[in-house]
Amino acid sequence: MLIPRSDDLKLGALCSLIFIAALNPGIARAALGEPEASVQTDVARLQASIKASADRGSFRVHEIQLPSGTLLREFVSLDGNVFAVAWNGPYMPNLRQALGRYFDNYVAAAKLNHQDHKHLQINQPDLVVQARGHMRAFSGRAYLPTALPSGFNLGDLQ
């Protein structure tokens, strides 16, 4: 779980991200697989706020506080693209927004993999989605296995 310390916070990353967004007002795509500026798109569309941004060396994390109380984390590699998202909180996030162009794959795959109401595991060559939970407590993550930074520890994806 990301617990950002104040000295981890890289406001510069956030400022540059906003700057990028300002330079690219036409960007309206969602997050996974998209440039870092799409984080701001998500923030706007989800009527959310960025709670924290942290530089972890080989990747950056933006923690988005959704109005529902759920935290959505977006992981950005050094090449500037979102390679993973993770969520944790009382309600599901809008995955159409967070998964972007991968959402349709997710929906199609989910139909094939029904086990119970509380778990989801999708393993595709270009998309992994894992989720669990129950009413009042949902968590999960989606990532692009071919886009993970070298040496990335999946345990950091919470």
Binding site: M1, S68, Q121, H134, R141
Partner: protein, 411 residues
Amino acid sequence: MPASMRALRAGLGLILCLSALSCGGGGANLGPPAPPSPTGNNVVSVIVDAGPLPTTNATVNTLYTSVTVCFPGNATNCQTIDHIEVDTGSYGLRILAPVMNATLNLPVQLASSGNSLVQCTQFVIGYSWGPVVAADVKIGGETASSVPIQAIGDPRFTTVPADCSGTGTAQDTVASFGANGILGVGPFALDCPTCETQVIPGTYYSCTSTTCTGTTVPAASQVANLVTKFAKDNNGTIIQLPSVANAGATTVTGTLTFGIDTQTNNASGTQTVLTVDGNAELIMMFNGATLSQSFIDSGSNGIYVNDSALVACTAMNLTEFYCPANTLTLPVTIQGQNGVMTNNLTFLVGNAQTMLSNPAAANFSAFPLLAGTNPNAQSFDFGLAFFYSRRVATAIEGAVTSAGTGPYVAF
């Protein structure tokens, strides 16, 4: 069970068990022998079987009961519906609209706007969309009069708002849902307490014939835990299931008793009482780690926890399950918010591939040793296997029993 898993079973059916023992025919389960099944007007039978569509969509480790729903105030316009999943991980009664007779015609409830109140129920695997309707509900000898329930997949409401469909895949058919409905009997009263004062995307909507808008919903209009609406025996539930052989069983029958300490058949006795947090979660300590987002859930079909020492299955569609060479007995400690901890608690993990491909088990639906990984490193999800060979009480928030004050889980 998805068709893929059935195909897997068929495909692996050639792997023969070498002996009855290796098929796991014997073997005790966890815990002491369960006491005799209770009887009474507050008791209803429950069963683990292959579900409402056993040939095409067989389920595993899913607990069902039957409910009778009637048009409010009309005791002759009723229907009894079987294969309603019993779920201690959700709140409220939800029934797939297609299984309800047209003559039932339960009245759609209204949002504060005066338009129809329609719910988007969030499950991990997707959402269930449908109107809130009123019904008189009878389960065993208990009755809840004119209570809000959800009719999932109602053909009168087919336009799903984007922020509802954005939460995942539609779970609005018996096949996709794995049940004719779901009875959420968790340790809280409301399915969306925040919705009383805040519009939460992907929850409740006020709908006209063409458009839907997110809405707040007062507690009385929410699809709440039905138990709290009973005239008596309304402070919790007790699920009691017998032990199940390690290899599994075709069916398992047990009881769902309403009320705790309200009758002689639901007295608390002495047990471990674990208070749950505001998210209905507990702390579980496993392999030296303290997992703070853990829960006991009759609606989970396996035991889901990460253990790097356990070998994952290699068969397609089983890769999230464990396939150890031998059945393992593993220790776990569960701690409540009240500081109470379990003593000497263990669980068993078997080889999922062996279990599910055992030709002698082709019709099995109960697998007490089925375990798999958990995508949340802070979570241990103790599913229906926990309930086998146990008497598990779930006290609803605020319930005062001789064993403690809810919300708690006790066993």
